[in-house]
């Protein structure tokens, strides 16, 4: 049983928790947070690819043989930065949206648009 409790599986669970939030919450802020959770889960998953607990972080010239695979780590720094910027954009947009419509509910905005 315990061998299933790995960081990778935890990240998959996290991904689907985020997906649940996207599917079943109508609040835009919650959508933004949920998508972020999914993003983080994917990043967590990628970091743990090819990684074992006894490995060292890929820093400095020593112990090159015992280091963890550096490629996912490098890529995920980029992914984290992208995640932050995209979140910033969506929150900025949300503020504008909230000022115009006075609600943060996807459904209510549609009703106000079609009316």
């Amino acid at each position: 049983m315990l061998e299933y409790v790995t960081i990778q599986n935890a990240s998959l669970v996290l991904f689907f928790v985020g997906l649940y939030g996207v599917l079943f919450h109508r609040n835009i802020i919650r959508t933004i947070i949920s998508v972020n959770v999914m993003d983080v889960a994917a990043i967590l998953f990628l970091i743990t690819v090819n990684a074992r607990p006894d490995q060292l972080p890929p820093v400095g010239p020593e112990h090159a043989a015992r280091m963890v695979d550096p490629l996912p780590q490098a890529l995920m720094i980029t992914a984290i930065v992208i995640g932050i910027s995209v979140t910033a954009v969506s929150i900025t947009l949300f503020i504008g949206l909230f000022r115009k419509y006075g609600t943060s509910d996807w459904q209510k905005i549609i009703h106000r648009l079609t009316r």
């Binding site: 991904f15 998508v35 990628l46 090819n50 490629l71 996807w106």
Partner: protein
């Protein structure tokens, strides 16, 4: 001719962005000209690179001295070179079209050329992580453009598009994770090689379905096109933006679809599935297009149906069908861009976008109407227009099976029906006095629109030589052979007559259409459809592989 060294591949990516950044410090009047010159240069470079690819094969360029699979590599091959040229030409024409529009301020132009660079680099990239980065970039730039005139619906459309794209890209990122875990590489060629060598096909399923869900969303495949009309026909978005999104940006999604199928298509049998998805997308697209009253929404939904047609061609499993699909990508970009631009002019002149309120554009805006008619004929696949060639190729790519061909006839019929309805705005009584209105449209955009129209005709009449230049097709002569021209014309005329009859008898008065139009899908429902697509793909592959 002596073989010149090809220019570095990053030039068409960086040139617009650098020109946009440097030029930002000069007055707007000069800025516009700098960008137009830069775009002309990009067109020249794209031609030059295409010539190189055709002569000496794929161009590969590792950046910053790191070789694959660690470094970032740019690649230009027979599929991406014509598309790079397409991007350059359409962006240049769009810029010329909007030469003296008021909303063309510096920021708008800067975002627009940056997007051009990013889209160009999407066609050049050779690994999946780069794709992730670039798609996120295009998403942010497009969102800014969609809501540039900050109207009420614009904010909602921008928000919907942004959230839906980020959601899809979360799937893509997890897919990248599984890909890296399975293969240990992220570049297209490496993944393809290792997926073929893989004995356990089951390990490919999860990375493929995760990434394909995101790519399918970007391409606007069947259950996931809800965002497309909202983004492409956002009421307050400038028509230039609609033209760019529908003409070029959606094609980046299709291009990724091609890459995905090239990577995994041989190891996982998904051709039949996407053939069906393509047909369903096309049918759903034109059905919804017929229901709309807003002329820009009609065009946006017809994009969905044409995407379906392109996917049919790409998954037809024959070489002719495949290149027909690619040719349709190019043709659709040209005539859909022109349709959106003319629709923008017409909507501005009449002050409405309701198809029932616009009548007699041929009297009020003769030149624009001529251009729009050319685009409609290209769209409908009239003989001698570019659409007829690509549709014919897609059809002959499926010549082995009568069922698929029948499906294509249905799609073509639907397209004609849509545009029969659309063409009603050309005729009738223009309402106001003819003399007062004539000449109100700027000569300049109308002229550029005619250039677009000329491209549509050239793509039809000169299809043989043009395809010979653009694509490595074995026998371009065969493709555009005049042998079947009479037959094609007859089929077109018959389908067209049927479309007109159907329109007059049924569509004009149908109440069902209003019902369907009234359906609006919320964000949660769209996300549910996407999850459904993912789950379906996963189970389909688990059962079949």
């Amino acid at each position: 001719m002596t073989a010149l060294e090809p220019l570095p591949l990053y030039v068409p990516v960086l040139l617009p962005i650098v020109a946009g950044t440097i030029g930002y410090f000069v007055p707007t009047r000069i800025y516009k000209h700098i960008l137009i010159v830069a775009q002309m240069a990009v067109v020249g470079i794209a031609v030059h690179l295409l010539a190189h690819v055709r002569r000496s094969g794929t161009l590969v360029e590792p950046l910053a001295g790191w070789a694959e699979p660690v470094g970032i590599t740019l690649k230009l091959d027979a599929i991406s070179a014509p598309l790079l040229l397409l991007v350059a030409v359409v962006f240049l024409l769009l810029f010329l079209f909007n030469y003296n529009k008021l909303y063309m301020d510096k920021l708008f132009q800067f975002v627009f050329v940056s997007l051009q660079g990013v889209i160009a680099s999407l066609f050049l990239t050779a690994d999946v992580f780069n794709v992730y980065v670039l798609i996120e970039l295009t998403t942010v730039f497009s969102t800014l453009l969609i809501m540039y005139k900050k109207g009420k619906p614009a904010l909602y459309n921008g928000m919907l598009y942004l959230m839906f794209s980020i959601l899809a890209m979360a799937f893509f990122l997890l897919g990248i994770g599984f890909t890296y875990q399975t293969f240990g590489v992220l570049d297209f060629a490496g993944i393809r090689e290792r997926s073929l060598a893989m004995t356990d096909r089951g390990a490919l399923i999860l990375p493929y379905s995760l990434m394909m869900t995101a790519v399918g969303m970007k391409a606007g495949l069947l259950p996931m096109f809800g965002w497309l009309p909202r983004a492409h026909a956002a009421p307050s978005a400038p028509s230039m933006v609609s033209a760019m999104l529908s003409g070029i940006q959606i094609k980046a999604g299709i291009y990724l679809f091609i890459r995905m199928q090239l990577m995994f298509g041989e190891a996982l049998a998904t051709r039949q599935l996407f053939l069906v998805v393509g047909i369903l997308t096309a049918v759903a697209g034109f059905t919804l297009a017929i229901c709309q009253r807003d002329i820009k929404l009609i065009l946006a939904y017809s994009t969905v149906s044409q995407i379906g047609l392109i996917v049919i061609g790409l998954t037809s499993g024959s070489e002719i069908g495949f290149w027909g699909g690619i040719y349709h990508i190019i043709n659709h970009a040209v005539f859909k861009a022109l349709l959106f631009l003319t629709a923008g002019l017409i909507a501005k002149e009449y002050g409405t976008r309701d198809i029932a309120m616009i009548r007699g554009t041929v009297y009020r805006m003769p030149v624009v109407t001529v251009a729009a008619t050319l685009a409609v004929l290209g769209m409908a696949g009239a003989p001698f227009f570019n659409g007829s060639i690509s549709k014919y190729l897609i059809e002959s790519g499926l010549s082995g099976d009568a069922r698929w061909q029948a499906a294509i006839y249905v799609v073509n019929f639907g397209t004609m029906l849509t545009f029969t309805r659309y063409a009603t705005i050309f005729f009738g009584d223009p309402g106001e006095s003819r003399r007062a209105a004539r000449g109100a449209v700027d000569r300049w955009p109308a002229t550029v629109a005619l250039v677009f129209g000329a491209l549509i005709l050239a793509g039809g009449i000169g299809a043989g030589p043009l395809m010979g230049i653009l694509f490595p097709v074995a026998d371009p002569g065969l493709l555009a052979s005049g042998a079947s021209a009479v037959g094609k014309t007859l089929v077109f005329a018959a389908t067209f007559a049927a479309a007109i009859a159907t329109y007059l008898l049924f569509v004009r008065r149908a109440v069902v259409l209003d019902r369907i139009r009234g359906i609006s899908v919320s964000f949660n429902a769209m996300a549910m459809m996407m999850t459904g697509f993912f789950a379906f793909l996963l189970f389909y592959l688990l059962v079949t592989v």
